[in-house]
Symmetry: C2
């Protein structure tokens, strides 16, 4: 590795361009970045780590896509609070075989997302490491009365998601086996996995409704994330419908697997899981469709039983250990 930290910072600043500066009084190049927070809003912060071989595979995914994906995965946490992003910082770990051009390409992806959502990359760190890794911190702002937690769901609420599930998991599978899907579905599955989009406008819009009682993102799979919302809210969730993305439906058709089970377990979709007061659901769904051209899909309902259950073909089965966890024994992702 033949470049200095100063050279890396210069290259990063160049790639970020305007994204390094907007509305930030002191940005990259001082000890800390400085800005004037909103006087009326709450600030929200979230940090996520992305490690080569765990969260992405540099071997198969280009560095600009890795940058795009890391940003969206991080922003998804702000979307889930109903916040709009204001700035981000990135701690980059660089192994010996990563060149300065690689760093530039990675930040080209980062800058694309920052420019699209009008926030600044205000700082970070760049250090030698045995493995390529990014730790992304995003800071956003949200009106206090709009901020949505996981814990606000009530018995009787409808649980909905902002889109069909499983396309990202199908993309991950398609990376490993290119023959599982036809070209068109393979491309869209790969895009879903590599360029997963944070539901920022949808999150802000939903957060503005008093009928939305709880919200979180669906990054670890619908089953696991519903279990978290249920636990935080002190209730149970009965799932009745799993909306399967066409990529996952085709993949399951090809392999003979159960598409709904895969969609329930598959993570990294970054759709939002929303608990909505049931009397208001149909109206909110119609307004959501008018605004975003997409459907809020009801997947179940909050009840007083413990845990998450799935009613399917007349049977109700407990949903546990769906989704995945970086630390499960033998789990490599």
């Amino acid at each position: 590795m033949g470049f200095s930290e100063n050279a890396a910072i210069a290259a990063i600043r160049q790639e970020l361009g305007a994204a390094g500066d907007s509305r930030i009084e002191v940005g990259i190049g001082d000890d800390a970045a400085l800005w004037q927070p909103s006087r009326s809003d709450r600030s929200a912060i979230s940090t996520d780590a992305f490690v080569d071989g765990v969260h992405f595979q540099r071997r198969v995914t280009s560095l600009d896509r890795i940058g795009v994906r890391a940003m969206h995965a991080s922003l998804s946490d702000l979307a889930a609070m109903g916040a709009r992003p204001r700035l981000a910082t990135i701690a980059l770990g660089v192994p010996p075989d990563v060149t300065l051009d690689d760093v530039r390409l990675l930040y080209r992806g980062v800058a694309r997302v920052a420019n699209a959502f009008h926030f600044a990359v205000a700082g970070g760190d760049c250090t030698a490491s045995p493995v390529l890794s990014l730790a992304v911190t995003v800071l956003g702002e949200v009106r206090s009365s709009h901020a949505k937690r996981r814990s606000g769901a009530r018995i009787g609420d409808t649980i909905a998601v902002t889109g069909a599930l499983g396309s990202s998991a199908a993309g991950l599978r398609a990376l490993a086996d290119p023959h599982l899907l036809d070209d068109r579905l393979r491309r869209s599955a790969l895009d879903a996995y590599e360029l997963a989009r944070a539901r920022l406008p949808e999150g802000r819009w939903l957060a503005g409704s008093t009928h939305v009682r709880a919200m979180m993102d669906c990054s670890d799979g619908l089953g696991r994330d519903c279990a978290r919302m249920a636990q935080s809210s002190g209730l149970g969730i009965l799932l009745e419908h799993i909306p399967v993305a066409p990529e996952m439906a085709a993949l399951a058709g090809a392999t003979g697997e159960d598409a709904e089970e895969l969609a329930l377990a598959g993570g990294e979709d970054y759709e939002l899981i929303v608990a909505i007061a049931t009397p208001a659901f149909a109206h909110l769904q119609a307004r959501f469709h008018k605004r975003f051209g997409e459907r809020l899909v009801a997947v179940g309902r909050c009840d007083a039983q413990a845990g998450v259950r799935w009613r399917r073909s007349g049977n109700t089965i407990p949903v546990d250990r769906c989704g995945w966890d970086h630390f499960e024994v033998g789990e490599t992702r």
Copy 2:
């Protein structure tokens, strides 16, 4: 590795105790942490990465000390802006041989620092990784008129540091060779390296003075960091006195090396480098001593020449490539 992300989060919350919550409306366990920023102050943010084998050696330093050191190294950036810390987030990369007890020990160190400086650890991430790594983001607040940048130094200003230099570098050397120092100095050098203290109260106090024109921390060595301040401020710095910590003086005595050169180059002291209007220096120094019981040490002066130079025994030599850089070819730290 036999523990889940949920188990890690539970253990972390337990270790953090009150440090996880204070003044934070939504903390660990939701998608993002949420708080009410000061209505009058600026917010400041900084992110630093710490990688085993690069910034610390797990082989020789206990995990609680690694936690303490990572927090102080990060907080030093807030100290350099004159900010007080409000919250932190941590992205933790955990290799297979790190146990849940190890994670607890690490966060015990983190919590000690958070409790001492009254800020919250409001969130983070915990993921599998081939190497133990922490990316620490600290967020602080500072009155706009008090925030000090690197770029404010003026020609004629006195450059001062908040303490003698080189004890941390001596500690690093003493780790590699236990026979360099006697027991007492070895222990204090190791403490300086492993528990380096961010100059938070000193930074806030200095930031309150209009005679302080620029401030930064001295994490990469006085020579290199003065070069950054000089470049940011568009001037040069002539160094005339290098205050050497007793640990480094003893080490240089034992090895026959040049103590001042080592102190100039050695990083991770986390003293503050301050540019002060020269007419006010003596008075500020006296007040600083009265307040903190320690001396502000004048090390040089800003002038109109380019770069950083060191006047020593009648000769003036350019100071370049002092201090260190993670990315230098062949550099392993």
